[in-house]
């Protein structure tokens, strides 16, 4: 079998450390999601990109809801109730967008 207990211990430890290093790097790869691996800015850039994305998706959902409601009011002549309805749905859709964007990061252990 292996020559000497000390050698196998050291071998084992070396293998353990190598495996741990590989596991660590794989874990980092897995955690690299949106904005991860960005060569400019690091974590500040990641946070900035998340902020811009959230802002624009929120505002865009409300705008699209209002637009659909306003246009549907023009077609069906039910001023202004459809606008109110779709504005409310747009706000809900905006929050839904933000939730879908931000939530998985929270579920992954909070960084």
């Amino acid at each position: 079998m292996r020559a000497g207990k000390n050698e196998s211990d050291q071998e084992l430890r070396a293998r353990l450390e190598k495996l741990q290093a590989e596991l660590g790097s794989k874990e980092e790869e897995r955690r690299a999601e949106i904005g991860g691996g960005l060569p400019v800015g690091g974590s500040f850039g990641k946070a900035l990109s998340a902020g811009f994305t959230v802002l624009s998706e929120f505002v865009a959902a409300i705008l699209v809801g209002a637009l659909i409601g306003w246009q549907a009011d023009g077609w069906f002549g039910t001023k202004p109730w459809l606008l109110v309805l779709f504005l409310g749905l747009g706000v809900a859709a905006g929050f839904y967008n933000v939730f879908r964007f931000a939530a998985p990061k929270d579920a992954r252990g909070g960084g």
Partner: protein
């Protein structure tokens, strides 16, 4: 100095009309050609030597390629790799047009809402067409998450539809608003410098706006590259929705 002047379209050369529609060559078209040319020069020139140990230009192109490839593969999976040329072209074109727009006296393409909306509309049309081609009408399952009771579904489906339709709007408005705001801020601070210099005794304060412009330029560089990247990443995410609908 009017900070809005930098965004005006100017005709270059002779006016050219097709059926009464003005399609003459403008400075916007010139900068589009410049951005495309820069992207082509970067990729072809960098790979022309094909050295095993890359020189600087080749390393730059390889970094770009690997970066976009990793992003596409990690967000859209192996099947998403067939969209890799499209995403790479989009990313490089937006990056080049942003970087060229940072040079003073140039015209930045992405500060025109029609240009960014064209990009976003193309991406969303591609997503819809590919989803319909790949899954037929099962693509509409994207709007119906499973494991949801029926009454909630009645409210949830319009919300999902609105959320889907808000994607092109958010893609285009994000890029447009960031670049427009950055360039207007730079122009306004530059105008401050000129105003201070021309006001006699206040000229002693004029280095302050210059420092502000330098800091803003650094931030602008970061934001422009970031916005190109975010555009590409979100394109991959939406394509992933087309390939695997109904998360």
């Amino acid at each position: 100095m009017n900070p809005i002047e930098q965004f005006e379209l100017q005709r270059i050369g002779a006016p050219y009309f097709i059926n009464g529609v003005d399609v003459s060559f403008t400075n916007s078209a010139l900068y589009m050609l410049l951005a495309a040319f820069a992207a082509i020069v970067l990729t072809i020139g960098a790979t022309s030597r094909r050295a095993l140990v890359p020189g600087r230009g080749q390393a730059l192109a390889e970094v770009l390629y690997e970066f976009v490839a990793n992003t596409v593969r990690s967000t859209a999976g192996k099947e998403g790799m067939r969209f890799f040329p499209f995403v790479f072209t989009l990313f490089t074109f937006i990056l080049m047009s942003n970087l060229i727009g940072l040079v003073p006296y140039t015209f930045s393409l992405s500060s025109q809402i029609v240009v960014t909306f064209a990009f976003a509309a193309f991406v969303i049309t591609l997503v819809i067409l590919y989803g319909l081609y790949r899954h037929g009408f099962g693509f509409l399952k994207l709007f119906v998450p499973h494991g949801v009771p029926a009454p909630v579904l009645v409210v949830l489906i319009p919300i999902e539809i609105i959320s889907f339709l808000s994607r092109p709007v958010s893609l285009s408005v994000r890029l447009f608003a960031n670049i427009l705001a950055g360039h207007i801020t730079l122009a306004v601070f530059g105008g401050f410098v000129v105003m201070l210099l021309g006001a006699g005794a206040w000229a002693a304060l004029s280095p302050i706006p210059i420092l502000a412009v330098v800091a803003m330029y650094a931030l602008e560089l970061l934001v422009n590259c970031l916005q190109a990247f975010v555009f590409a990443v979100l394109t991959c995410v939406y394509l992933n929705d087309a390939i695997h609908p109904g998360h």
